[in-house]
Each structure stands twice: as C-alpha cells, then as structure tokens.
Amino acid sequence: MNRLRIPFWVTAAFAAVALLILALCLAGCGSSKPSSTITFWQGYTDIERTAIEQSVADFNATNPGFKVQAVFAGNNDYALTKLRTALAAGKAPDISYQYGSSMALLAKLPQVVDLTAKVKEPAFDWNDFFPAVRLATMASGKVLGVPALVDNLALVYNKKLFDQAGVSYPTAQWTWDDFRTAAKKLTNSSAKQFGWAYINDGSEDTVWRFLALLWQAGGDLLTPDNTKAAFNSPAGLKAMTLLYDMANQDHSIYLDSGNDNYLNLFNAGKIAMLWTGPWDISSINAGVEYGVQILPGDVSHATIAGPDNYVIIANGSQRVDDAWKFLSWYLSPKEHLKFAIATGDLPIRESETKLPDYTNVFLKKYPADAVFVANLNNVTKARPNIPAYPKISADLGQAVQAVLLGKLTPQQALQQAEQQVNADIAAGM
C-alpha cells in the first residue's frame, strides 16, 4: 500500500490559509469602530443619499471631537427588520432611519433611547416641529425618535385629461360628490381611461387612503383608548360605500394590484387623478402637465401623514450624546431647509417656512410642494401607535379589498373587520 505523503510545508501552508480564512470569518462579524465615529443608517439612494452625505460631510468638517459616518443600510422598507436583526447580533448603528408606523414595535426594544427629556431642551425647539410629525414620534407615551421626513396625501391630477373631458380643475372646496362625479366623467372605458387609481393589494398602501376617507367622514379607526375598533360606524359605512359605488357602479377606479403600475398609467394619460404624496411627484414625466390640490372633503378635508423618524440606539452614553448632538444640528431649521431644497422633501419645522430661502428657492424649485406644505394643517390624526397595528392594518386591508372587488357589501366588510380587529387587539394585550 502506497499512501500519499503530504510534505510538511504543504500541510502547514494549508493550515495557515485555513486559519486565515477562519480568522477573517470571525473578524468580519466582530469588527469594532473607534468610539469617536458614530454610525448613521439611512435607506436612500439618488438625490437624498447625496444630500445626506453632503450634510454629514459638512458636520464632520465643522465639528471636531467625533465623526459621523452615513451608511446606506438598504431600502427603508426593511429598516425595521434590519435594525432588529442588527440588535439581535449586537451590531446596531447609533442612528437609524425608521418608518413612523414602526414606532410601536420599536417601543418594545430596550435599546431604543427615550428622547422625551432631550427634545424638551430649549435649543431643540420641539414645538417648532409640525404637530403631525411630533405625534408620529410618540409611542407608549414616550418620544422615541425625532422627525426625519413628513409627507401627506393630496390630490394630484392630469390637467390635460380634465380639459379634454370638460371638467373644471379640483378646488380646495371639493366635496366627495364633486370628486365622484368628476371621476365618472373622466372615465372612458373605450379609451381605457380611469378617473382614479386605488392600490388594491390589501397592504398599508390600501389602508391609509381609506383612513383618510374615514377621518374625512368624521370617523376614527379605534376608540380613543385604542382598545376597540371604532370604524364600524356611520362614517365608516359612508367611506366604504363611496369606494364600493365608485368601483362597482361607476367603474371609475383603476385597481392597482400593488406593483405600482398606476404611476406609469398616470404618465401615459390613462388615469386622471391620484391620491399620493411628494415622493411620486418626482416620477411624473416632464411632458405631463399636472396640478396638486388638497383632498376632497366630507365633514373635513382630513389627510394622513406618513412621517418617518430617526431613532437613537443605546451604544453607551457618550455615543448617545454624540448622536443627539449630530441630530440637533442636522434638524436645525437652516440645515433641514438645505436638505429640503436639495431633495424636494417637505419642511418639518414651522420656522423653515419663514426663512427667505423657503420662498425664494424651495417653492420656486418645487411649486407643487406648496400644496403639500399647506396640507400639513389637514393632518389632525395619526395612526394608532400600538403593537397590534400591523395586524389591524392587514384586517382592514382585506375589508377594503373585498369592497373594491365587490365581494362584500360595505356593511359586511366593516362587520367582519371589526370582529377581527377586536380579536387582534385582545390577543396583543
């Protein structure tokens, strides 16, 4: 038997390589940063990313003592999942961009820093932030983040289609009836043209537009103490009935299955009106002449805001202080307006709108944003920040979908959703 003899040096070389790979594997998971650099996770590409990196560079250039490093952490849709995973692995950033709708779940994490005392520092001027954005940073009675972005739903319409159909442009006084009548007139089945588009995938995208309708009719999602469903009410019925009638009688709604075809169709002149926010404005083609108006109203012209926040993670008190110092600077009126001018994001502080650059630069560059800023005054309510919200949203999403597809009457859908929501709240307590 002739066995292969491996020379000593070959074995040793392989051992070295193997150990090196092992060491790299372990080091890769365990790299640590010097405490003088704090990490800032954000989820934007394009213009926003450039603007964020510019702000961070400005801060680093003028503030000695510590450095901020902005890291693209993947699409914001996964920010909550990523942060939770990073926390589980013990590798969390110091600052993380998070959706407002995630606050209730973030409130359950001990690592998220309670900022209730910090925002009250006079220099931060907390009450200067719009009420809608302040509301969205709260969960379990605590301020758990500072505002990162605010938007809201307004009515965006294609002027050419209105002209062709001989319908006058929407006004700030439009009622639901005006809206429904116009949508019907703007619908032309032979030209495959629709008055309105509704995202009908049963997700939060489906639900928040319904919440705006519900609030306009004077209703609310839950009872004030967030313990029971309150939407199975005359207001809820009115809102559901509007959707049911428009989808099943007038056939004036294009039902988008959630793949965002609606925007391409708006660009192609196949959809006359959208209920959407500033984020879609930049995707409207240059050739499409559009207008922006506040939402039509019933009892009120209420809209809904989708504010996002920055949260600070407890990685030691020095780092928390540094993170706070950076955010206070970053969210100062002057700095945020610079960011808004670069990106088209709305101002988050009242005082930003008083700065000269707001009128002279911002509104000139983004004329449509004037309506969205004014519309912030129509944000009077927020989604309940409770841990059961994702399930409540899923229940309501199914109800709205059933009504749009004509599978359930508004009454049936509301009853069914009410039962499910009450069960989910009870299970979540």
Binding site: A15, K108, P110, G258, A394
Partner: protein, 312 residues
C-alpha cells in the same frame, strides 16, 4: 501509522518534533484542514440557523428581545389556525396543478425538440431562457401581460370574442395565474433534464419496437416513457419540493391577494415573521412545512421504487 512515516520524522530533536510531525503527516489532520473553511461556513450559515430556528419555534420570539419559552404553544396554535389551514389548502392545490402540468408540458416540448432540425439550438435556448431570467422580471412581465385593463392577453381574448378577465385581480383566478407564471419559469429546466434523458435512450430499442410493428405513439409510451422513469421521478420530487415553497412570484405580483387567494404557506410564514414579527410562530410553520416536504418526498421515493423501471 507506518514505520516509514515514523522514520521520516528526523527534523529537529526527537520527542516533541516527532509528535508534531506525526500529527501533520496524518491524513486526518490534512483532510480536516482542507475542508475546514467549508465546514465552518456550512456550520455557520446552514446548520446553526436550522438548529436555532427549531429553538425559536418553541418560543414567543420577535427576533430582537430574547424569546420566552412557551413549549409547543406555537404548534398547538397552528392546529387551530384557519388561516394557516387555508394557506395549506392553497399550497396543495398549487402543487397538484404545477407539478403535473410542468411535467407533461416539458415532456411534450422535450420530445419535440429531440430531433435534428435546422435552428434547433435556437429553439432549445429559447425554451431554457426563462429559467435563467430573474423571477422578479418574469413576474413583472406577467403582471403587465395579464393586467385586466391594459394587458395584451385580454386584448387577444376580446379579439376572439371572449370577455376581459381580471386574472390577478380576481380571487378565483389569481392562484391559477400564478400556476401559469411559474410553469413558464420552470418549463425550461424540466425540458433540459428530459432532453438529456431522451438522448441517453439507445436507438436500437426504438428500432426494435419499429420492427415489431409498434406505432410511434405506442413505441413512445411503451419504450421511451418507461425508460424515462428515473428522470420523471427526479423531476416529480424536485418540482414538488420547489412548488411547496413557492414565494417569489406571489410576493412580487399579488402580495398574497386578492383577498388572500394566493397566500400559500410560505407567504403566510413570511407575513408572520416579517409583517407581524412573530418569529416563533413563523419558525413553527417552517418546521411543519419541512416535515410535510420530507414526508411527501419519502412517499414519492417509495412509490418510485415500485413504479420506476431502472435500466441495469
């Protein structure tokens, strides 16, 4: 250890150096060193998550806070969850359609392509193209083709006098449309496997059948098809495993809807884990799916042993 190896350990002094030498001269050590990077990676990214998720399935766990041990409660909840039962039913319907349709379509295409014809390479490439196309791209393409209002499919249907269909927007059609999309995506894979198998069948067997007076149809079903048995078995097992885990196309096109009509079991699992952050329940579902797939595969292989003819 052989004497020859001991004799080679002359480097340095005796004793320690000899042991050192012996250790490194042994094939065991060298072998383990060769495979250690792979073992570490598989252990870290394969075995550890499998074990960990089993532990999580016995917990009330939201991934971030350390879980609370609740024993079998997740599994008990599963038994009484009508939404889970419904998602299992949809998965079964989906698999029962997807596997046989893919199989028979692939067989038909493979037989058609198994001949010498001008431009055959082009056709074979064309059939295989969907396999290497990203599922997301495929899904977006079909969501446009089957758009109820603007899709080209409805345009054709209208031309031949059929009313427009709602496809992905209709709870009673959406799952079947997902079957269609995924069959299209998997067909090329099955065709390639069948083609290879068809080309491995000796010509003499078909010639013998011809001489015995068999028609081509009869020769196919009596000679070729039985000889494809092992291939068919492999495809049934492989396609079933994948069908039971169907997710991508549903995630992109329908988000499980409309009205949960395409919420198959893996999509339901995904919702529990990443929409409701109930990792304990989600991993319990994952383990039930795993056991289901394991059981089905064992049954398929046992049946295969009886039905499939292996050429010796």
């Amino acid at each position: 250890m052989t004497g020859a190896e001991n004799g080679a350990g002359g480097r340095g002094g005796p004793g320690r150096a000899r042991l050192w030498d012996r250790l490194f001269a042994s094939d065991h050590v060298a072998g383990w060193l060769f495979v250690s990077p792979a073992v570490v990676l598989i252990g870290l990214f394969g075995v550890a998550p499998i074990v960990w998720s089993l532990i999580i399935s016995f917990q009330q766990n939201s991934l971030d806070t350390s879980g609370i041990w609740i024993g079998l409660a997740n599994y008990r909840h599963l038994m009484h969850d009508p939404a889970f039962a419904a998602s299992v039913r949809r998965t079964i319907v989906y698999t029962a359609l997807f596997v046989p349709i893919t199989l028979f379509a692939a067989l038909a295409v493979a037989v058609t392509l198994n001949r010498r014809l001008h431009g055959m390479r082009f056709y074979r490439t064309a059939v295989f193209a969907p396999v290497v196309t990203s599922t997301v791209a495929t899904a977006i393409m079909f969501s446009w083709l089957l758009d109820p209002y603007f899709g080209i499919v409805n345009l054709f249907l209208n031309k031949v006098g059929v009313a427009s269909q709602s496809f992905f927007q209709d709870p009673s059609q959406a799952l079947y449309c997902i079957v269609l999309v995924t069959v299209w995506g998997w067909l090329g894979f099955a065709v390639v496997i069948y083609l290879a198998a068809l080309q491995g069948i000796p010509r003499e067997l078909l010639e013998a059948a011809e001489i015995d007076g068999a028609t081509r149809w009869r020769a196919f079903w009596r000679v070729q098809f039985p000889l494809l048995g092992p291939t068919t078995l492999f495809l049934v097992v492989w396609l079933s495993i994948n069908a039971l885990q169907e997710f991508d196309e549903i995630y992109v096109i329908t988000h499980g809807g409309p009205l949960a009509s395409t919420t198959v079991v893996v999509y339901y699992l995904f919702q529990q884990a990443f929409a409701f952050f109930d990792a304990g329940y989600a991993t319990a579902i994952a383990y039930v799916v795993f056991l289901g797939i394991l059981a089905l595969t064992v049954v398929q292989l046992l049946l295969g042993r009886k039905l499939v003819h292996y050429r010796s």
